[in-house]
């Protein structure tokens, strides 16, 4: 059973405010190791440099969107096994289906509460203690 404080989570979003908000939410859940990346390229860099336990990525980003990042992660030798949660907007069903096909482990609809995020994470990594 993974311990929240031991999880290494990468948050990817081009909006600083959203990244910070996600960070705050993760901290509420008890996650202590939080990396941030403002675009897909930096996310790949971070993922290649250190082992991650989870990537939480927004979909709508310039240059490389969340799905493209997911493809890149799944094709990356070091990061391919890192669980991936895609953050989507309300009402974007098609995207969730695409994400599933591309190998996303889960999705979460923005805006989300700490409870929702925790549930979504636990569905992927197992119950957090």
């Amino acid at each position: 059973m993974p311990v929240a404080a031991g999880l290494k989570v990468l948050v990817v979003d081009d909006q600083n405010s959203v990244r910070q908000m996600t960070r705050m939410t993760l901290e509420q859940i008890g996650v202590r190791h939080i990396h941030e990346a403002e675009n897909g390229k930096k996310a790949i860099d971070t993922a290649s440099l250190q082992p991650l336990d989870l990537i939480i990525s927004d979909y709508n980003m310039p240059e490389m969107d969340g799905l493209e990042l997911l493809h890149a992660v799944r094709g990356h030798p070091a990061a391919r096994r890192v669980p991936f949660i895609l953050v989507t907007g309300r009402g974007d069903r098609e995207l969730v289906v695409k994400a599933a096909q591309a190998g996303a482990n889960n999705y979460v609809v923005k805006p989300f509460t700490a409870d929702i995020l925790r549930t979504k994470i636990e569905q992927v990594v197992g119950r957090l203690s």
């Binding site: 927004d58 709508n60 009402g91 609809v109 979504k120 569905q123």
Partner: protein
């Protein structure tokens, strides 16, 4: 400020950037330069505003942004044409969005129906789009989650607990979710999966609580489960699985001693059916995912996925700069500290000069170095505050387009030097004057296509907007190739309004400058574009308020040019310290052309006390600074110094002062807050000796000087009746 408040500030800063991108993008699309990337970027910006608004709970913003975003989504998917007509609906929508963000930022209540027109127009576009393409889902009541979508979260194997061997004890479990369990983001399916990990699980669903379909509330769980779990786990471990739902369900876990009911034991249900029915489209994807763990689906190598994405969007890649967001307040604090440093340095300089030569020379050398570094520090900090003037310029194409449509004129806008950097405080105050000047140009300057053709010009008028650095200042020029100013009409009007005396004889330049007088209007009829001509005096005052000056050149029938010369910064400037009548003042270096000690024979006194200086063949009017400042009669010595200054409009005049004390950087401290506007005084500063000195406003001094002799007297100095209060310390 709490961290949440700070995050909100960050969000609003991001919004400002997003709004600019939307405006630029839409303008590009409107003018036919738009690509798919442009539409995507605009969409993303609106999406970011909406997303952030959602996170921070800004409801008024979300709803409008949602409609806006939906229209853009239609446009980027090609269902809605990116035609000028459609973009003309989006541009005002961005204005509404801008207002909504401003109101949200100021924590003002958003009036009911604010932006309703724009929203209705957007919705009409959606109607159009839907008719052209497929009908879209009605998304007005978005759900928090796609409850109908059976996306099976894929469990990562990284954290899997070791397989629990079967055997051990049997527990009887009754689990009936309470009404609020789903609403609290819990999902019975996952609890059951967790249970299954502990051992052999056999459950039967109780469907007896299911209501008729018509009465079914989708967010309420109606199904309960009973069954057994054969496991080596303890009761505590089982209870732990239910940790988050304990208060939200009926739960009974009891050790089973009797044999299991045969039906359950014989045929354990592998997994209950999904609680919600899955729509057909989502099922295959989800099913395939349930079979494999995510990592086994490896669609493409990273390079393949990443590189085309980058190659396909060179424009977007170019824009990414390594930046850091810093609050303006923090930079301002540094600017203030640099100011204090400059003052302390000047004081140090005075002490050093007072020391005996042998000790002071090395010190003075070091001090020079410090001064050099301070100047660089000042420049660096100022460049941090600098923004490209493009932020103001980019509003103009739209303004020109709208006004051209309204007036039925053909106008082309040329812009150059958008990347010129100007201090942020100046940028903020440049928008209104520029807008007004351009309005005036289109309304009064550029002629109708017929008139232009008749005058032998092309039917399309041109407005040029140019910004550049020139001699320590930023010069912004707005020129048009319209009719220029008609001096006869202006003079007639000014006389009719009593702004100049009926028998005054004025040069063409003087007449042209009459348009800067308060209340002057040349428009024969009042138009709703530039109004009653209250503009140009306000424009001039705005520019003067930031230490800038405005000059006008007009050529009848050929057009006119307005030139705004602005200081690079408002906080620290180069000044010449002078003494007159026993008082110390500072003159801005930017206004000083030269300083000289003329021979008495070069000064010719005219009637009325005003002298003229013969300077390299030209006559320059002279004024005693102590007369202007009312410091009493000037000492009539040969030692006096004349400073040739630029009055701001290119004309030169000489100021007679007693002594030049030296050139130094001074920190401008505003006096307006404490004393109001004093004509002739631009601010104050603290000198090296710790005393306060007033910084003189050369342009105003020139006006004051003219007012002593010219028929334009009262008019040119707007408030000449106000006493010129001076007096230091």
């Amino acid at each position: 400020m709490s961290s949440l408040d700070q995050l909100k500030q960050t969000f609003f800063d991001e919004c400002s950037e997003a709004l600019q991108q939307i405006e630029t993008g839409l303008t590009d699309i409107r003018e036919g330069h738009g690509t798919d990337d442009t539409i995507n970027a605009v969409f993303r910006s609106v999406h970011s505003v909406k997303g952030g608004a959602g996170i921070f709970g800004f409801e008024g913003l979300i709803t409008f942004a949602h409609v806006f975003e939906t229209v853009l989504d239609e446009m980027r998917s090609g269902k809605l044409a990116a035609s000028p007509d459609n973009v003309d609906v989006l541009l005002p929508a961005n204005d509404v969005l801008t207002d909504l963000i401003a109101m949200t930022r100021a924590a003002e209540a958003i009036p009911d129906n604010y932006g309703a027109d724009s929203r209705a127009a957007l919705e009409r576009l959606l109607g159009k789009g839907a008719a052209d393409g497929d009908a879209e889902d009605d998304d007005t009541t978005p759900a928090d989650d796609f409850e109908g979508l059976d996306f099976m979260p894929v469990r990562s194997d990284a954290f899997d607990a070791p397989e629990v061997p079967a055997g051990g004890q049997s527990f009887r479990i009754i689990f009936r979710p309470g009404a609020d369990l789903l609403k609290r983001a819990n999902e019975p399916l996952y609890i059951i999966r967790e249970l299954r990990k502990l051992g052999e699980l056999a459950l039967v669903a109780e469907t007896n609580r299911l209501p008729p379909l018509a009465e079914l509330e989708p967010d309420r769980p109606y199904i309960g489960w009973t069954g057994t779990l054969r496991t080596t786990a303890t009761r505590e471990q089982i209870e732990e699985v239910f940790e988050f739902v304990v208060g939200d369900c009926e739960l009974d876990i009891s050790l089973e001693t009797a044999d299991l009911p045969p039906s359950i034991d014989a045929e354990p249900l592998p997994l209950p059916a999904p609680v919600f029915a899955a729509p057909a489209t989502a099922a295959p994807a989800a099913a395939s995912l349930a079979e494999h763990s995510a990592p086994s689906i490896v669609p493409a190598p990273a390079a393949d996925a990443a590189e085309p994405a980058a190659a396909g969007r060179p424009a977007a890649a170019k824009q990414v700069a390594t930046t850091m967001r810093v609050e303006l307040e923090k930079i301002d604090r540094v600017v203030n500290m640099v100011g204090e440093l400059v003052i302390a340095q000047a004081m140090l300089g005075q002490i050093v000069h007072g020391l005996p030569e042998e000790t002071s020379s090395r010190l003075a050398q070091m001090l020079d170095e410090v001064i050099h570094h301070t100047r660089e520090l000042k420049d660096s900090v100022m460049s941090m505050r600098a923004q490209s003037i493009g932020a103001v310029f980019q509003r103009m194409p739209r303004l020109v387009r709208e006004l051209a449509t309204k007036t039925g004129k053909k106008v082309r806008l040329e812009m150059h030097g958008e990347n010129t950097e100007v201090d942020r405080s100046i940028i903020e105050r440049l928008g209104d004057p520029l807008t007004h000047i351009i309005r005036n140009s289109i309304d009064h300057g550029i002629e109708s296509p017929q008139d232009r053709l008749a005058a032998g010009k092309s039917d399309e008028g041109t407005i040029r907007l140019v910004a550049e650095h020139r001699g320590g200042r930023i010069v912004v020029e707005v020129s048009d190739d319209g009719g220029g100013i008609d001096p006869d009409r202006v003079l007639k009007k000014a006389k009719a309004k009593g702004l100049v005396s009926p028998d005054a004889i004025l040069s063409e330049d003087e007449i042209n400058n009459l348009i800067f007088l308060p209340g002057f209007s040349t428009a024969e009829t009042i138009s709703d574009i530039s109004g009653r001509g209250v503009g140009m005096d306000v424009v001039r005052r705005n520019i003067q308020d930031v230490g800038g000056r405005i000059t006008l050149k007009s050529e009848r029938g050929r057009g006119m040019t307005l030139q705004l010369a602005l200081p690079l910064t408002l906080a620290v400037m180069d000044g010449m310290v002078i003494k007159v009548g026993g008082q110390t003042y500072v003159l801005p270096m930017s206004a000083i052309v030269e300083c000289l000690r003329p021979a008495r024979s070069d000064i010719h006194n005219l009637l009325g006390g005003r002298g003229m200086l013969r300077l390299r063949g030209n006559l320059v009017p002279l004024t005693h600074l102590c007369d202007l400042l009312d410091l009493g009669a000037a000492a009539d010595t040969d030692e006096r110094v004349v400073i040739i200054a630029d009055a701001g409009d290119g004309t030169r005049f000489g100021l007679i002062v007693d002594e030049l004390c030296g050139h130094q950087q001074v920190v401008v401290k505003s006096m307006e807050e404490s004393y109001g506007t004093v004509p002739g005084v631009g601010g104050a500063t603290i000198l090296g000796n710790g005393r306060v000195a007033l910084i003189l406003d050369v342009e105003k001094l020139s006006d004051l000087a003219i007012s002593q002799t010219s028929p334009l007297a009262a008019a040119r100095v707007g408030n000449a009746d106000q006493p010129v209060a001076m007096g230091v310390n």
